[in-house]
Structures are given as C-alpha cells and as structure tokens.
Amino acid sequence: MMEAAIEELTVRDAAGKGEDALLELSLGPHHPSTHGVFRMDVVLDGERVMRLKPVFGYLHRNHEKIAEGASYLASMPYTDRLDYIGSLTNNWAYALAVEKLAGIEVPERAEYIRVITAELTRLQNHASTIGFLTQEMGASGSPLMYSFREREKILDLFEALTGSRMMCNYMRFGGCRVDLPVGWMDQARKVVAEFPRFLDEFERLLTGNEILLARTQGVGVLSGELAIQGGVTGPILRASGVNYDIRKVDRYGIYERFDFKVPLGEHGDVYDRYMVRVLEMRESLKILNQALRDIPAGPIMDAKTKIRGFRPKAGEAYGRIESAKGELGFFLISDGTGNPYRYRVRPPSLINLTVLEDMCIGSSVADTIVTFGTIDIVLGEVDR
C-alpha cells in the first residue's frame, strides 16, 4: 500500500514550497552513524522518511575476483577483512565451505576451539553493537566504553591465541593453525566467568531505562513474514519471531553437543533486537562454559590434508554458518586447479539491508539511524 504512494511521489525543493514540499537528502557516506562509508538516499516530508535507498560500494575491492586469482589458502587471511569485527567466524565459514568441497574431516579438539573462538566473537560483536546503538541514541560514551572494556578482554584472548587482535587468520581447512597456548584456557574461563557481571551491570543500566524504552519500542518494526521474504538472518530475524538459527538447523561443527536456547522476539522492533542480542550473549556464555569444560586433548589438524598446494577435485559446495550478523556463506566452484574457479561470499550485512527501506518508511530521521544501527552492518562485508 505504501509502494503506490511512493511511486507517485515527486521530489521538489523544500525551500518556499509550503508544508507539502519534499526534501531529498543524502545521509552519509561520511558520518559516524553510518558505521563506515555508507549512504542512504532519503526523501523527507518534514521529519518523516518517505523513501530510502541504500547506496554503497565505496569500499568495493572485488574480493571475489582477487580470490579467483589466489590459491585456496591465500584467501584465508583475506576473509578477516570482510567483517573485521568477527574475523574468526569468517575464517570458519570459509574453512567449512572448503571442507565440504573436498570432504575433509576436522579433529575434535579443533572443533571445540572453533566453537570457543566463534562464541567469543559473538560476545564481543553483540556487546559492541549494543554499545554503538546507545551511542546513536545519544548516550555518548559510557555504555560504549563499558562494552569496549569487555571486548578488550576478549581481543586479548584472540591476540594470545592467534597473534592478532582483529585480523586473526587462524583457521585452516581441516583444523586450526596453532594449539591453545599455555594458560589460555584459565584466562578464557576467567573472562567467561566475569562476563555475566558485565551483562548484569549493562542490563541494569539499559534494559529498563526509560529513555531506551521510549526510543526503541515500536520503532523500526519488521514482521516475520517480510523478514523471511527479504532473506534477513541472524538476531534481526529472530527478533521478528522466526525460529531459525543455523547452529540448530544445520548443526555444523559440533553444535548438537551443546545445550543452549534460541532467544526469540515478539514484536520485531528495535527493542526486541536489543533484547535478543543480550539474551544471545547469555546463551553463548552457556555454550562457552560447556565447551571449556569438555574440550579434549588431541591433534588440531587433519593429518591427511595438505594445505599448501591444495587442489580439490572439480565440483562445487555451499557452506554456511551462523555468524554474529546472520548467515555467512561461501560458495566455491573448483575446476581441479589450485585456485577456485568461482569464490562467492554470501554477506549477511548486505542482504539484511534489503528490507531497510520497509523498516524505516514513515519514521523520523532519528529513528531511522537507530533502526539502521540495529541491523549491525560492517561495510567491509557489504562492499567486499
């Protein structure tokens, strides 16, 4: 019903045309609220958004083409640069696709390490997303600093394990690059044990906060039906009440061994998306506790896999995981040589933007920024 009205809409200069005048405005690309170089072409009727078209590609470097010219292994460090907040989950998604393509088995200890690092990634991703969200609602500083303080502890763990805080380049086809260093497990257990305290503090500060409730409830509503139709995945989808978590559906890796729940929202508004992320962090902590308890000793690499000079047989495979932002998939076609014939990234950030316009039409500019913030995009992944 909204679409027909938009079709007929004509854009005019706002100056001196009375109250019905419409203003076409470019939000971004150089603005902190756009989380990178991202632009929204909006048409405004006063403060109300009438039309919104996302514009991106400013960071496009044709990652897929570069990967076609490189060996399978050489693309692994490049996947870190897609969603640079969660490089370890990117590594996992790519490794999983290659493992499907070549039929590689992963040793049990490596699977546990993958789960532990992926859930830590989810924790720090959700914490900083909520931090940024409060920042966009005008709470300058404090909540974001709190979440960054916690994120720092997790990044320290990543640095101890992989040598890098954000560009981890850690996983390999058939396992992981290095084993856990001495003392890492104790440090990880400590971080996981202390995290609930931060979450409680965070929730005391935010969950019942009157300003947060006023700014988020009923804002940017997305129905479950439209979310499925638009291919939305991750916490946004589940905030709209659709029970679809790839960790439960595909049971990739060893996720069937862990006892955890999938939090669902009811209204599909910004508040639900905030709440689902908080609850997901609590579930991640559950998984982490179980994984840190059960992790066995053993090899971390499949002995049969030759990583250097890796040449899978001709064929194709699509592998996907539940990254912190949604379904991250890799589609690979091999022609039997050392380079992939086709290498495609299915970026959750990009596809979650498909329904941004529907979520924002009719709301104010300030609410649009908040709604956009809860989609949680990273431009390295959108533009590739």
Binding site: F56, K65, L101, I228, G231, Y318, F331, R344
Partner: protein, 209 residues
C-alpha cells in the same frame, strides 16, 4: 531431498517445463536443477509455495562465468595429394560456446531443510544477455541480482530496480567476467582540478624558461 522426484513433480506441475539435473561430483553432493528462462518464475513460485517443499528463503544468488571451451580431436581423412590418395591426419576443433549462469541456493525456514540449487543459464556470453529475475518471488534476491548485473552483465528481466550496485554508475564493463581486462586508468575521473593542474604545469614551464 530427492532431486529426481522434485524434478518430475515440477515437470508435472508446470506446463511444458523441462528441467535438467547437473550432477556435482564433489563430496558435498549438492546437485542442481537447470531451468529455462521462460519457466523460471513459475518453477520458483512452485518451489516456494509447494506444501512439501516450502522453500521460502532464497539464501544466496551468485553469478558464474563459463568461458567458451575448445576441444580438438585428431581425425584421419583420405585426401588426394599430387594425384595419389593418402591418409592425412587433421585436427578438428569443436568450439562449445560459453554462457553466464545465475545460481540460487534455496532453503526452507518453515521446514528447515535445504539447500536446493537452482540454475539459470544465458544463451551466450554476449552483452545484454537475459535470464528471468526471481526477485518477485524472493525479495532477498534483489540486491544480489543487482550485483550480478553489475559484475557479470546478466540482465534480469522483471527486476524492479536493476541498477549498478557496487561499481559506480558511469562504469561500463563487468569486472567479474573471466576475460575482463582492467584499464590502466580505471580510477581516472575528470575533475575541476585538471584545468588547474594543467595551468600550474604551464606556469612552471614558463618560469623555467
């Protein structure tokens, strides 16, 4: 999911529709169905709405560029050479034209199964080749089909908003094609500074004299 059964079910449900199964030899065993352009939308709607399949979620759409392939075989033929019949070996080349492909990975959020891989192929690798857009069936294909249009040059018929998405509007080629050659000055854009730079260079030149 049994692909043979899905194939025959579709062929029964959609009039005159013939599908082809592409076997995937890799251990992933994700085989796919090739659908012709004229039936693509009907098949997609069937896959989405069929009570058993309910593939309501189109996860991934990717373009693939398959180059022309040339196979040569040696053929022995008899020819008259200087009036004497001789057996001569000739190399006969057969050229299979390449094509562009759009690959759809479909899942069901309701039934929690998948993936079903659906492929559409263009006739050749020329400019402006078309396949049917499936965005009217699954909106999640909107940006992804735009990306394929941008990077591969496949035109999706029936797409509501087919524009370049990652490259800028004035860009002319399709960089993901296998035979793409990047120009030396592809980042060149004329700016008002050009005139100023030329003037400054001229001024320097006169000063030097």
């Amino acid at each position: 999911m049994d692909l043979e059964k899905i194939k025959s079910d579709i062929e029964e449900a959609v009039l005159d529709c013939r599908l082809q199964i592409v076997v995937n030899p890799s251990p992933s065993a994700q085989h796919s169905l090739v659908v012709a352009r004229e039936h693509a939308a009907a098949v997609a709607r069937y896959l989405r709405d069929d009570a058993e399949l309910r593939l309501d979620y189109c996860s991934n759409v990717s373009g693939v560029d398959w180059l022309d392939t040339e196979t040569s075989e040696k053929v022995k033929t008899k020819k008259l050479v200087d009036g004497v019949e001789q057996e001569v070996e000739e190399v006969r080349k057969t050229r299979t034209p390449g094509y562009l492909e759009a690959v759809y990975h479909l899942y069901s959020m309701e039934k929690k199964h998948g993936p079903l891989v659906l492929r559409q192929r263009t006739e050749n690798r020329g400019d402006g080749v078309t396949v049917a857009s499936l965005t009217p069936v699954w909106r999640s294909a909107e940006f992804q089909e735009r990306e394929i249009f941008d990077l591969y040059g496949i035109v999706f018929e029936g797409h509501p908003d087919l524009r370049r998405i990652l490259m800028w509007d004035g860009f002319e080629d399709h960089p993901m094609r296998k035979d793409y050659v990047e120009p030396n000055d592809y980042e060149y854009e004329p700016t008002p500074h050009d005139a100023v730079i030329a003037k400054a260079a001229q001024a320097r030149e006169t000063e030097r004299r």
